[in-house]
Structure formats: structure tokens, C-alpha cells
Subunit: 201 residues, 2 copies
DNA sequence: GTTCGGACGGACCGATCGGTCCGATACCAT
DNA sequence: ATGGTATCGGACCGATCGGTCCGTCCGAAC
């Protein structure tokens, strides 16, 4: 190896850790397994990520960035109409959920696995997860606001329920059945944002 | 202590284990903690539940029974109209979710924590969780069938999305915010089952 | 009062956890 | 060829995991 500190070592470690954390759960994956599968020395890993919590936080942070990018791309492709943009966001979630190997939302899964986030060393990853979810919900909230609806709060809640439902279904439903949920969610989202008179009472 | 084997020991152990598993996650709670908080001897616990997986399966099984009972009571109180019965089911979920200390669906949380359920010793608890979810979804499916709608499959998916969404929101949203989701879900469920012409396209 | 079964709970097992340390190795510049 | 540096990866640490075993104790039956 050259003298230069390390070109892509950090990314390689983070990539392996992300794959394992996501596939098996955070607690189920030990640092030793990450080290062995990454083919790196123990020293090097702990030099980049001093504790497991740091590595987990980096894993969630990277996932948050990727999902935010994907959402932004979907928004950019959706045009200017806020209704179209909302539907595009839900459809983007549906696309993610339908992907083979998808095993649920990394953030919701993490929060389900570590409910005692405020206390202890798990505070950092928990904060990353909660902030991502809050940001994600706010994006829908803002778009609904542009819609000039009588009760934006209610519509936001309804749409967010669909997003939550889509993600959690991916944690336990067969991959073959998920597209049913996806189709239902996208269709319902479209109806919800389109017809203000249509869906009422 | 009398000679008789044990009156409520099993229930006491299971109660303590259930509370801890639910509050902190299954992997986060060690057998030693259950034993110490239950105030029982190690021998006695392992006599009733030979392995941790057995105890976890019993925890989920008990929870499944209680939730099924609560759902049945809600159905009994809802009358004969299938539309009312469906709304009553969703409202019952909302009532559960709004309960203080509620931390998400025990089954969905477990499946998020143990994604590799088919393999290893976790097979039994995973089967309990999956079966409960399948049964629960089927109950809605059957009620939708009584509704004589053009596309019962789609309506079932939509309602099930609401249930999934309600449960997962409880894992990460503040208790104060959850009633927003509950109100949105119950209201939307009512609209979905009521107006076949209302919610379309 | 003696005996006997059941319950308590600590000692202990091997394995694994997160994390530290250090020797061996491989590479580059001189 | 040599020195230096960065990496690898195993030895090791204390703690904890699930699980087994056994000594102690207590209450009831005789």
C-alpha cells in the first residue's frame, strides 16, 4: 500500500457496514464482522469511526443523503404543479420500496430497534434518524401548503400515513405483494391531492 | 412456599419479559435482567421457557391474543354494517396507538429487529409475528368483501396502509402528535369505506 | 422435629460483544 | 539496500450474552 493515508478506505468500510446494518439490523452486526468483510485492519476502522455509534450515525447519515437526493431528483422531474410533485414523492417511495432486497426504511427500522435513543451512546444515530424523518415529513407539508387547500394539516397527515405505511410494509410483506401496496398508495395519493371535492366526509 | 408446582409464576415471568421486550427491544433485554426483575430463580424461568426464543414467542403470542380480543370487542360494539365494522377496527388501532407508553406494534417492531427470521432459532417468534399480521390483514379483507365493492382488493390495500402507517408512527412520533395521525386515519378510513363514488380516480 | 420438594440465586461455562494494543508485513522515497 | 510509514490482523481486555449446574433455604407434610 502507498504512503498516502487512504483513498477510499473510509467509504469501503462505510459501504460494508451499511449493507450489513441494513440487512441484518444494527445490533445483530458486530464490529468484527464488519472488519473481516471489509478486509481492513481493526486499527484503521477505529481510526475512522472511534465507536460503533459513530459508524451507525455515519451509516444513517449517508442513507439520509441518498434518499434526499433521490427525492430531489423525483421532484425535479415532476414539473411545477405541487400536486404532481407530491404524487411524484409518493411514487418515488413506492419505487424504493419495490426494489428487490429492500427491507424497510433504515430510519424507522433503527428507531424500532433502539427505542431508548435519548439516553446513552445511541443519541447520535437516533438524532440522525429522527431529523431525517422530520425533514422528510416537512417536505410534504410544504408542498401541501402550496396546494391552497382548506385543511392542509389533515391532508399532510393522510399523505404521511401512506408514506409510513409503504415503508413498514416492506419490512414484513413478501416482495411479490408489495407492488399492491405501492399501487394503492400512489393511486390514493393522487386522488387525495387531486380532488378536494372528491374526497370529503 | 407450598409443594404445588407454581400458581402464577409463568405469568409473572411472561409479564415482566413482555414489558421489557416491548419497552427496550428484544435483543436489548438479557435473560439475566428478566430474571432479576421477575424475582424468580434462573432454574424456574428456564423450566418454563427453555430458550430465549421460546420466551419471545410466548411474549408475541400473548400480545397477539390480547390484540385479537380487543379487535373482537370493537367489532362486537360496532354493529352489523361492514362499513361501520371496518371503521371500528381502524379506530381501535387508533385507540391503541394513542395509549401513553405505546411504542409501536410489537410484531412489526420485532420483524424490523429480526429480519432474518426464517433462519436460526428465531424462526418461532418470527412465525408468530407474521401469522398475526396476516390474520389481521385478512380480517379487514373479509370485511371489505362484505362491502360489495367493485375493487375490494384495492380498498383493502388502502385500509391496510392506514393501519400500517398508524402503527409505525407510534414508534417515532411524539405522543402529542400521534392523535393527528389517528384522526387522519380514522377520517380517511371512514371516507374510503363510505363513498364508493366519492373516492375515485 | 425430621424430611422432602420446590424455589431462589450465585458460580460458572463457552462465546461474543466493543474496543485497545502491538507485531508482522508491504509499500514508497531516499 | 535501507528507513519510514501505513496497513493488516491477531492477541488480548473487561463485560455481557444465553444457558447449565448446584448449594442453600424455606415451607409444608408426616
Amino acid at each position: 500500500m502507498p504512503r498516502t493515508p487512504a483513498p477510499g478506505t473510509r467509504d469501503r468500510i462505510l459501504g460494508v457496514a451499511s449493507r450489513l446494518f441494513y440487512a441484518h439490523g444494527v445490533r445483530a452486526v458486530g464490529m468484527s464482522r464488519i472488519i473481516s468483510e471489509a478486509g481492513t485492519g481493526k486499527n484503521l476502522l477505529y481510526q475512522h469511526f472511534p465507536t460503533k455509534a459513530d459508524l451507525v450515525a455515519a451509516y444513517l447519515d449517508q442513507a439520509a443523503g441518498r434518499r434526499a437526493d433521490a427525492a430531489q431528483r423525483a421532484l425535479d422531474a415532476a414539473g411545477e404543479d405541487p400536486a404532481d410533485r407530491i404524487v411524484a414523492l409518493v411514487a418515488e417511495v413506492g419505487r424504493v420500496v419495490d426494489r428487490p432486497g429492500f427491507r424497510g426504511c433504515a430510519f424507522r427500522n433503527y428507531l424500532a430497534e433502539f427505542p431508548d435513543g435519548a439516553e446513552g451512546e445511541d443519541a447520535a444515530p437516533t438524532a440522525v434518524a429522527r431529523e431525517y424523518l422530520a425533514r422528510s415529513r416537512r417536505r410534504i407539508e410544504d408542498l401541501v401548503g402550496e396546494l391552497d387547500r382548506a385543511d392542509p394539516e389533515r391532508l399532510t397527515e393522510r399523505l404521511w400515513l401512506l408514506v409510513d405505511g409503504l415503508y413498514v410494509q416492506a419490512t414484513y410483506r413478501e416482495a411479490a405483494d408489495r407492488h399492491l401496496g405501492v399501487a394503492a398508495a400512489v393511486g390514493l395519493a393522487r386522488e387525495l391531492v387531486a380532488g378536494s371535492a372528491m374526497v370529503r366526509s
